[in-house]
């Protein structure tokens, strides 16, 4: 049987450095093919070659037995290959429906018909997105849904999903998996890139594992398990380091003093009369579905968003009421917020690691000096690069050139350089490879052990259960329950988050 897609000895080099090297890859018709590997392993590069985003330095790509070389994504779509990017490629100033039909407009467009058909189409995919909504007003998860819907609408033969589920709730993930199953039945082939190995194992027919730009193994999913994949990905077993409290020997830490007390905090419909406390020397995990108001509450605390002007509630930092209009006073008071959307809010992508860390330092520059000494900046950067194991050629490397895990570490370093007493991590391991996940978890444990108050917002249950010392559940804009990780089950947490 001829493969639908075949890549032979494909290599892609950037400035003489191979991002992928001599890779052989096949995709059969109606197959779901999982592509896994650490950040920087070459998964995105490999699929971008197929989708016409970049052109291979050497090697051959065959589509239905015919040699192809796409120079633009439009060309690839024309031949039936579409890619759903991790970074959204939607037009923010247009509505969902307009984005769905972008490029298919007629001379005269009947808006009502356009929106009706967009609504019907989204409903067939079980995506709860308002076609009239402006894309700029959507959260990361809904943007991802529109992105997926647009790819499905193009009626292509191959769809490449790059981390499609990272921003989705468990329920939405269920819809997505059934969508993939329906596409498969229609004979559409799917390449599925994911860091969530359980997902890859659950929906993929075959899995290809990449490491350092090379293919390590391709096998049927039924012949693989999580442990085997991780070992192949990183060359060692990381299961114990990742999500197992017992194996790492990390006991639940006891409470220190109350650092933060949030009382009846309200902000529009997103945060509704929520109250909770954060204690020093502990990691407080906050679990909830996307849209449950976790991020908004954290952003109010950090001065990124403002609570209601009237009866917006109170926030006490070490017993002192605080109300910030901008983040800087929050930073000066010792509150650091590590954003969930690092690409937009976390770093300056064209700046170097050193410059980014210096940016974080500038926020606490109480002297407001205008001259930055390059030597000091480099010294500071190399200290944090070493402390957080940020892997780059040197401190002058641009952040955009780093892998997701290292980018996240730069964002964390940018906050930690401010010497905070409360650190809020919002989805700290989203889109981060397994090696970096273990390192970030280790860092959070270290911060808590040093006596800092750590708040971790996460949508991933194993992470919340095994990293947190106490767990708060957020639902419909408020904290509704508190659990101890000892004895709580995933079902209990999910029940509290949903019902």
């Amino acid at each position: 049987m001829t493969p639908l897609v075949e890549m032979r000895k494909v290599t892609k080099e950037y400035r003489g450095v191979a991002a992928v090297k001599d890779i052989d890859f096949t995709l059969m018709e109606g197959e779901v093919h999982g592509l896994v590997g650490e950040n920087g392993a070459g998964k995105s590069t490999l699929t971008k070659l197929l989708a016409g985003v970049t052109v291979a330095t050497s090697g051959t790509i065959l589509l239905q037995g015919e040699t192809v070389s796409f120079s633009t994504p439009a060309e690839a779509v024309g031949r039936g290959v579409a890619m759903v990017f991790q970074e959204t490629s939607l037009v923010p100033s247009m509505t969902v429906a307009q984005n769905l039909y972008l490029g298919d407009e007629r001379f005269f467009n009947q808006l009502r018909r356009l929106y009706n058909s967009a609504q019907q189409f989204l409903q067939t995919l079980n995506f709860e997105v308002d076609p009239w909504a402006m894309v700029s007003t959507l959260g990361a998860a809904k943007k991802q849904m529109v992105e997926i819907a647009r790819a499905v609408r193009q009626n292509v033969k191959v769809i490449i999903f790059d981390e499609p589920t990272a921003a989705l709730t468990p329920e939405e993930k269920g819809h997505f998996f059934s969508l993939v199953a329906r596409l498969k039945l229609r004979g559409v082939s799917v390449i599925f890139i994911s860091h969530a190995l359980e997902e890859a194992l659950a929906i993929a027919d075959r899995i290809t594992i990449l490491r350092d730009g090379q293919r390590v193994r391709t096998d049927d999913a039924k012949n693989l398990d999580r442990e085997l994949i991780i070992r192949a990905m990183v060359g060692r077993s990381l299961t114990g380091e990742l999500y197992s409290r017992n194996e790492t020997g990390a006991a639940t830490r006891s409470r220190g003093r109350k650092v933060l007390s949030v009382q009846n905090l309200s902000m529009g419909k997103a945060v509704r009369n929520t109250s909770f406390s954060i204690f020093a020397g502990q990691i407080t995990g906050v679990f909830g579905l996307i849209g449950s108001g976790r991020t908004e509450a954290a952003k109010i605390i950090a001065g990124v968003l403002k609570r209601n002007f009237f009866y917006g509630g109170e926030i006490l930092l070490e017993g002192k009421p605080i109300r910030y209009r901008v983040p800087r006073p929050a930073i000066l008071d010792g509150i650091a917020y590590v954003t969930e959307d690092r690409k937009v809010e976390g770093y300056f992508e064209t700046m170097s690691i050193a410059e980014n860390i210096q940016m974080g330092n500038l926020a606490v520059n109480r002297k407001r000096s205008v001259v930055v000494r390059m030597g000091e900046m480099q010294e500071l950067a190399s200290h944090w690069q070493k402390a957080l194991s940020i892997r780059a050629i040197n401190g002058n490397a641009r952040v955009v050139e780093l892998s997701g895990g290292n980018q996240q570490k730069v964002v964390i370093a940018k906050s930690l350089v401010q010497l905070p007493k409360l650190v809020i991590f919002d989805e700290p391991t989203r889109g981060v490879d397994v090696g970096a996940i273990a390192e970030i978890h280790h860092l959070m444990h270290e911060l808590a052990s040093q006596g800092l108050a750590v708040m971790m917002i996460s949508s991933y249950l194993p992470e919340v259960m095994n990293v947190s010392d106490r767990i708060l559940i957020c639902r419909q804009g408020r904290i509704v329950e508190e659990f101890s990780p000892n004895g709580a089950t995933e079902e209990e947490l999910m029940y509290a988050a949903v019902h």
């Binding site: 009382q263 009846n264 406390s277 009237f310 009866y311 917006g312 509630g313 017993g319 509704v480």
Partner: protein
């Protein structure tokens, strides 16, 4: 001037000193049903102050002081002293004498060096509403006067009047002299001497604990409690147990801001239906808020608002909460006015629930998140 402007802005926005916010019950105060589920209990009629004296446990009930007996899982009580008026507070000394404060302002001493002594309410002294007493040493008593205006039965009215007329007194039993060591307090109703010679007082209407050193100003040692703190007792392993007789909720906080509403309510509505904290759980459909408890999918939601609650909190030696026992909105053992830890047992008087409850602390999880 600036603080006046700030108050005006706060009143407009509902923030700062006039915000209707309450601290959450989480961390050490995470709700549980340990108090409600405790199997060991004795039904009594509004038991109030529970103390330990020389291995004996005594509690006040109406105009009597009763002894509480516990042996091999069996609990019983017998009347030890009877008085002409209601007993409002008890204290026991190291030598075994018992000080009994009565509703008429008198304090009687039973046993020990000053056996039979009766202190009448001195002029300008803690004449009415003695809410708590404690022995500093054999010859010195410490007294809390909850309110200088209202008696102990009218504590809800004192709260609605935003009373801050409470005081703490030091009484020398030998010289029969008393002097005030702190005043202007918002209903002090728990008192304990510390090892360093200071006094710790619970200030109910301000939801905090104060440390008052000799001649010094009161210092806040624990603030922002989600309820109304009551009596304190020392814990055998160090630290303290604090009883909290009612919870705070936003409706009551809101009512406490609205002076005209409160005044009209006190005139037009029967006291049992005022929007104020209570010791007893719901008993009438006319209750203003008690029906606020909500059951969803067979589960009672933890944020169900309630005017009464059962709560006792263990504090460490720095007065920071370690753990707590609760009887929640759907429970009956509410209005805990005192607690006493002995060996592995914690004894509590649920005045609202008409019961004395014993909790075996060795069966209760040590660590709450």
């Amino acid at each position: 001037m600036i603080s006046a402007i700030r108050r005006a802005v706060d009143a407009f926005r509902g923030s700062g000193s006039v915000s209707v916010t309450i601290p959450t019950m989480d961390g050490a105060l995470r709700p549980n049903s340990i108090l409600e589920d405790a199997p060991l209990s004795l039904t009594r009629s509004a038991p109030d102050n529970l103390i330990g004296v020389n291995g004996e446990m005594l509690f006040s009930e109406g105009a009597t002081v009763c002894a509480l007996a516990y042996s091999a899982g069996v609990i019983g009580a017998s009347v030890k002293h009877r008085f002409s008026t209601k007993v409002v507070a008890l204290a026991g000394s190291a030598s075994g004498s018992v000080a009994v404060a009565l509703a008429d302002g008198a304090v009687q001493i039973k046993g020990g060096q000053f056996d039979g002594a009766q202190l009448a309410a001195p002029d300008g002294g803690p004449g009415r509403n003695i809410s708590a007493i404690a022995y500093k040493d054999e010859g010195v008593l410490l007294l809390c006067q909850g309110s200088a205006v209202y008696g102990s039965d009218a504590w809800q009215r004192d709260l609605l009047q935003r009373g801050a007329t409470g005081s703490v007194w030091r009484v020398d039993l030998a010289k029969r002299e008393s002097h005030c060591i702190a005043k202007g307090l918002a209903y002090p109703c728990g008192i304990m001497p510390t090892a360093d010679g200071a006094v710790v007082v619970s200030e109910a209407w301000r939801h905090r604990l104060l440390r008052i050193a000799d001649g010094g100003k009161p210092v806040v040692v624990l603030d922002q409690l989600p309820g109304y703190p009551c009596r304190l007792s020392s814990s055998p392993g160090g630290g303290w147990w604090l009883s909290v007789f009612a919870p705070r909720n936003q409706l009551v906080e809101f009512v406490l801001r609205e002076k005209q509403f409160r005044e009209r309510m006190m005139v037009a509505v029967r006291p049992e239906h005022w929007i104020v904290p209570t010791l007893t759980p719901a008993g009438s459909f006319m209750e203003p808020l008690q029906g606020g408890e909500l059951r969803q999918l067979g589960k009672l939601k933890p944020w169900a608002p309630t005017r009464s609650h059962g709560l006792a909190v263990q504090l460490d030696s720095d007065f920071q909460p370690i753990r707590s026992v609760h009887s929640r909105a759907n429970g009956r053992r509410h209005g805990v006015t005192s607690c006493l830890a002995r060996e592995n047992m914690l004894w509590l008087t649920s005045r609202g629930g008409n019961a004395i409850v014993g909790i075996d602390l060795s069966t209760v999880c040590e660590d709450q998140p």
